[in-house]
């Protein structure tokens, strides 16, 4: 996002004449907040192989008034006590991380790289790895962050990767993660989650941004020789997921569809930025959602967003062929 070159989202806006005011506003808020948090985090002593990584809406460049300071202390090596400690990071960040046990913890890159699949790849490890790849930004020590991401990507682009085919291991793990998110949503509801409304709303919208923002670059690798995939994916992951999605719509000659899809998502981000509406969403249960105007709005926006993504994946070439060949089996 450096320099004055237009981002893919800005290009989509220019092509279609449809602005994305809430997304662009959230990007500004993210940039401002990131500068502030980086300055504060820089005051903490760091071991040479640690980086404080900001996750979630920070990684999507979608920070709004209600966003948490989700973070992890990443160690580009084995797990051990490091500086900064979790407690030290908490003292300088405004808002405590979510309570899923995924954030606000020390994370060893060795675990992310060495434990892909099988029993050691627990739900938390898979979630951290995917969120690190797909929606994170360095809060400190960008060099450590970049080196760790390269290790994870390198592990995914293993010897099974072939020229002009989507990298299977990364594709399968990304799909596995999306399905895990959906299954875990049901499990949280079964366990009596107090945040059903907001979780449901995010499943319809920002979780799909996360998934599509991973899936589309992976399918983009089908245009490349094996040796070019690493650089391509690394560059894609430097962009927020909404840019990866906007780029795909532009490349697939589906700008109008992209403008409607991301326009719906833009409205959702605007809705989340409204404290009152967000609160109403948080308080919803499955029983009360049917009578809720704000939930009806979220459902409509989610449907429009999904319709755009489905059209991109199933109605444009060569994506539809790639999805058919690699998306199911």
């Amino acid at each position: 996002m450096a320099g004055s070159a237009k981002s893919p989202l800005e290009e989509l806006a220019a092509t279609t004449g449809r602005g994305f005011p809430h997304l662009m506003g959230a990007r500004e808020q993210t940039a401002g907040g990131l500068e502030d948090r980086r300055a504060r985090l820089a005051s903490l002593r760091h071991d040479s192989d640690t980086s404080v990584v900001l996750m979630g809406s920070w990684g999507r460049a979608e920070v709004t008034g209600g966003s948490d300071d989700d973070f992890m202390v990443l160690i580009d090596g084995p797990d051990r006590k490091v500086a900064p400690s979790i407690a030290e990071v908490r003292t300088v960040l405004d808002r405590a991380p979510g309570d899923q046990g995924v954030f606000g913890d020390r994370v060893s890159c060795d675990d992310l790289v060495d434990n892909i699949g099988l029993d050691p790849d627990k739900n938390t490890n898979l979630t951290r790895r995917m969120l690190f790849l797909l929606e994170s930004v360095p809060g400190t020590a960008e060099d450590v962050y970049s080196a760790a991401r390269k290790r994870v990507l390198g592990r995914y682009l293993d010897e099974s990767t072939k020229d002009f085919r989507p990298p299977r291991l990364l594709l399968n793990d990304t799909i596995r993660y999306w399905r895990t998110v959906t299954v875990d949503f049901a499990a949280k509801e079964h366990a009596g989650s107090a945040k059903w409304g907001l979780q449901n709303a995010k499943l319809r919208t920002s979780r799909k941004v996360l998934f599509a923002g991973g899936l589309l670059p992976i399918f983009g690798c089908a245009n490349l020789e094996r040796g070019a995939m690493f650089g391509f994916l690394n560059a894609q992951l430097d962009m927020p997921p909404t840019d990866r999605i906007a780029r795909a719509f532009l490349e697939q000659d589906a700008a109008d569809t992209g403008a409607r899809a991301l326009g719906a998502y833009d409205q959702f981000v605007g809705l989340l930025d409204d404290k009152n509406l967000r609160q109403r969403l948080e308080n919803l249960t499955r029983a009360t959602a049917e009578e809720s105007e704000v939930f009806a709005e979220v459902r409509l926006l989610g449907s429009q967003f999904e319709a755009g993504l489905l059209a991109l994946l199933f109605e444009t070439e060569p994506l539809s062929k790639l999805v058919r060949d690699y998306g199911v089996f």
Binding site: G17, D256, T257, A259, R260, A261, G308, L310, A311, T316
Partner: protein, 205 residues
């Protein structure tokens, strides 16, 4: 589908045989409202992901507000209610339909409601309403498809569904011809994410 008019169960079955994705149930004549209400009274489980209902444009007898009451009731069954703008005398009562209301562009025979400038006046009165793009209607005004492009440029965000067919010289909807398939392709490429309603059966392949 002409021979099935009035037999809603048969129409739904015929539509489902084409696609389980979307259907438009056309109550084009106000006289069909009775049989349609009888059908809905059986509480049918419609096997589609998207259901639109085309409101009456012929044999209108009900006053504007009475018709809107009927449409509002039908809206409970549907994702969208499609109306012809030239049959709307006073748009204001229709506002209660919110975003479920879709306004369709008219063909070259009609005096009004054909172009983006004319439809913009309707949307000014119905700010929440969406747009039902009838590509054959737009073609009937301008065979080089400029009107189509202008409509999609103007109402990009309002687009809710598309009507797809060809038209005879008398402007009757007929199955899409090979010539129109190619001519319409770049325009329809702009509408990939919304339901396409076939206004005439598919040609046998």
């Amino acid at each position: 589908m002409e021979q099935l008019r009035g037999d809603w169960t048969a129409q739904v079955a015929a539509a489902w045989a084409v696609s389980p994705f979307a259907v438009e149930l056309s109550v084009l004549s106000e006289t069909e409202l009775g049989s349609f209400n009888d059908y809905l009274a059986t509480a049918p489980s419609l096997p589609f992901r998207y259901v639109s209902i085309h409101g009456p444009s012929k044999e209108r007898r009900l006053g504007e507000e009475e018709l809107v009451v009927e449409l509002l009731r039908l809206a409970g069954w549907a994702d969208a209610i499609v109306m012809h703008p030239d049959t709307i005398e006073d748009p204001r009562p229709y506002r209660v339909l919110g975003r479920k209301l879709l306004i369709e562009n008219m063909d070259g025979r009609k005096a009004w409601g054909r172009t983006h400038e004319e439809l913009a006046q309707v949307f000014e009165e119905l700010p929440e309403a969406g747009f039902c793009f009838d590509i054959a209607h737009a073609w009937s005004i301008d065979g080089d498809m400029t009107v189509s492009e202008e409509l999609l440029d103007a109402f990009l965000e309002r687009l809710g569904q598309v009507h797809v067919s060809s038209l005879t010289s008398e402007l009757r909807h007929v199955p899409l011809t090979e010539v129109h398939k190619e001519l319409f392709r770049p325009v329809l490429q702009r509408c990939l994410d919304v339901p396409w309603i076939l206004e005439a059966p598919l040609r046998p392949t």
